[in-house]
Symmetry: C2
């Protein structure tokens, strides 16, 4: 059987299972999730043994220590992964929720309700816990899933997927609701992304190389996370103590994540007062600064920011800083260079905060809070499959709700046109 | 300037205009729409003159009479087109609507609100009225639009777009909110579908050739209408008079549209009684029947249905008919062959109707009503840009609401993580 037929085979099984899953009771889905968690907890030794193979191969392939750490599964991490599934069992099932409803003039009763999407294709790299997270989120929202993990985690992914499928055997849910592509051939990704008949959405989770490989040839809709080039704009009417705390948090609390600040914009009227303080605090925490020519007058020793800096998501302890004349210049800069992820204004001015909220084009816009809150957990969604920088279907934190679509239910009593 | 640069040029202008449009007052957008309508009504002669060129070229190119009729603009049709714009002015503006909102434990106030998508790329064939319809819907929902009409209607499209842009000159809305690609080169479509930076969604409206050309290479998300292979299932507990009326309506009232019935499923228990009657009525109205082997016992003179018939959207006075044992077989057939568009059950049985509504995977599922109601106008949406057979973002009737996305607005008072 060639690779194409193998992947189509998964697609057929997943599609069939999805029809069954779509009407499975929440109670049964939750029971399955708890069994899935139990299986992982009971099989820590075997999971660690398989994981060791990946670690050894990773060492042979000279993976970085950071990469090896992301691959590693130990008792604690397996426990966390299993607890994550239990958490998902405790969340509200979105399926069946009535979004809206009305009666038409001729007496049709129309309801728009949430239903599972069908079959999710998940393509991801390194961290093997994604196998469990994604399978659990898909199952809770009534979807089948086809998982395609990275080569480097293949042994870990295989044992995890196999344990999750074992758990389903003790339920009424077909085990084909969860599928892991067993081969690591790159071609499998391309085939998946063109399988419209059997896969309803592709979710890539990984670096820009993966995103590009997926979007390049996909005919299946793709929801992805591109980059997070987030700004904080400190307005002339800002509480400068608050501005300092928020900027420090947005830049340094976890610089490697997508909702961290990459560029700081400061209103010219308060730059003399604010810039020296925040610059000192940032540098104290090891942040390298890249500043505009106007900043340079205040901070003559800092490195110049180039055009490239305004376009760069550092994901590191580096920050570009620019002085702007007013709210309009701030909004203009953000709409030009921002990645439409998370943007914040620090201000007590009604007009400026309102203008910022209305005019900035981003998934999440903040007044007087850190950009770091753009997160399914922080938003109260319980768990997330990622953060979407797309505008269609899912924008921002991408959780259970976004794993559903809707259908219209129309009740009549003989209406014709 | 090469074609690529030309299209990118449109993209940049449209993107810039979209930022302005996003915060334009509803009042001003409505004023613009009424001016657009007025321009069309005042310039009927010039529109007809340009349209004549398309008609002449169409005749030279041996377009069918049906195609030529679709191309034709006369006084009435121009009046209708203009009135359509006025209708859109009267609809509720979706922008700014709060979808949901809540406070988090740490006091952040989060609101999820509807915002324009940004820049719409519309790729369509023949009917020049789409130029006006699509531009008006995009503008009302705060979006810029880049229009790419068919070669056969280029003169009509150019004059319509130019008049609409003229109307915008009398408003505060930048005229770059509406753009028509002036060239008819095919390559332009491919360039548009890969312009993620400047186009947020591509909406193709046309035959399957166009859909395929668009989805094949697109990196921009695409929302399209594929096919409408709709079923009516007449259950054992159906009111047979109602079933007859609905089937006749779903098949014959307008057989060439996507929400017409293509396959009739009949429960075996009532087939003896129902099939002869409905077959006679259908044939009286000129419908050709293609029947399953069980139907054949009742209707020995009808043509055999083949596997291909169950997969075919006839869009014509042809109907395939199958007898099924029960609701489960009906659902199975529909989920296998249906195009997830519109599906109806005719029944007075609570268990069967419930099962049908829950188990059939389609944008719209009906009890005791004709599939012909899947339509933005019939749903009360006022106007529609099309019907989506996609599952993500827009499913079913695709109107003003679906031309918006959302953003999260987060109000804090100094929150950090």
């Amino acid at each position: 059987m060639d690779l194409n037929e193998i992947i189509i085979g998964y697609g057929k099984l997943a599609r069939e299972a999805s029809h069954k899953l779509a009407t499975t009771l929440t109670k049964e889905k939750n029971r399955a999730l708890l069994l899935m968690s139990k299986k992982l907890k009971e099989n820590k030794e075997i999971i660690k043994k398989e994981n060791e193979k990946d670690i050894e191969n990773g060492k042979k392939d000279n993976l970085s220590d950071a990469m090896l750490d992301r691959l590693l599964l130990n008792d604690n991490r397996i426990e966390d992964m299993a607890n994550g599934i239990e958490k998902i069992a405790s969340l509200i099932d979105p399926v069946g929720e009535i979004i809206t409803g009305w009666n038409t003039e001729n007496g049709l009763n129309i309801k728009k309700i949430k239903v599972p999407i069908g079959v999710i294709g998940m393509i991801y790299e390194s961290r093997p816990n994604v196998t469990a997270d994604a399978a659990a989120l898909a199952l809770k929202s009534g979807n089948s899933i086809i998982l395609r993990g990275g080569k480097e985690a293949i042994h870990s992914n295989k044992i995890i997927a196999s344990l999750l499928k074992d758990a389903l055997k003790e339920t009424t849910i077909p085990e084909d609701a969860i599928n892991l592509i067993q081969t690591t051939e790159r071609e499998a990704v391309k085939i998946m992304t063109r399988l419209e008949e059997y896969i309803d959405v592709i979710i890539p989770r990984g670096g820009s190389g993966l995103i590009k490989a997926v979007t390049e040839h996909a005919t299946v809709p793709v929801i992805f996370h591109d980059k997070g080039l987030c700004h904080v704009y400190v307005d002339c009417d800002a509480d400068l103590k608050m501005a300092n705390d928020i900027c420090m948090n947005a830049k340094t609390q976890r610089p490697g994540v997508c909702n961290a600040m990459e560029t700081l914009l400061i209103n010219g009227k308060i730059a003399d007062k604010f810039l020296p303080i925040i610059a000192e605090n940032l540098k104290k925490d090891g942040v390298e600064l890249r500043v505009c020519s106007r900043c340079k007058e205040i901070l003559p020793n800092e490195k110049d920011a180039t055009e490239l800096d305004w376009e760069t998501e550092y994901l590191d302890l580096i920050l570009s800083i620019k002085i702007v004349d007013n709210i309009d210049s701030a909004v203009e800069h953000i709409n030009k260079y921002g990645s439409k992820h998370s943007e914040a204004i620090i201000s007590n001015n009604y007009e400026n905060t309102t203008k910022f909220l209305n005019s900035v084009d981003a998934s999440t816009v903040y007044v007087n809070a850190s950009t770091r809150f753009t997160d399914g957990g922080e938003f109260g969604f319980g768990a997330e499959i990622g953060i979407s920088t797309n505008k269609l279907h899912a924008r921002g934190p991408f959780a259970l709700n976004e794993l559903t679509t809707y259908k219209y239910i129309v009740l009549g009593n003989g209406q014709i046109r």
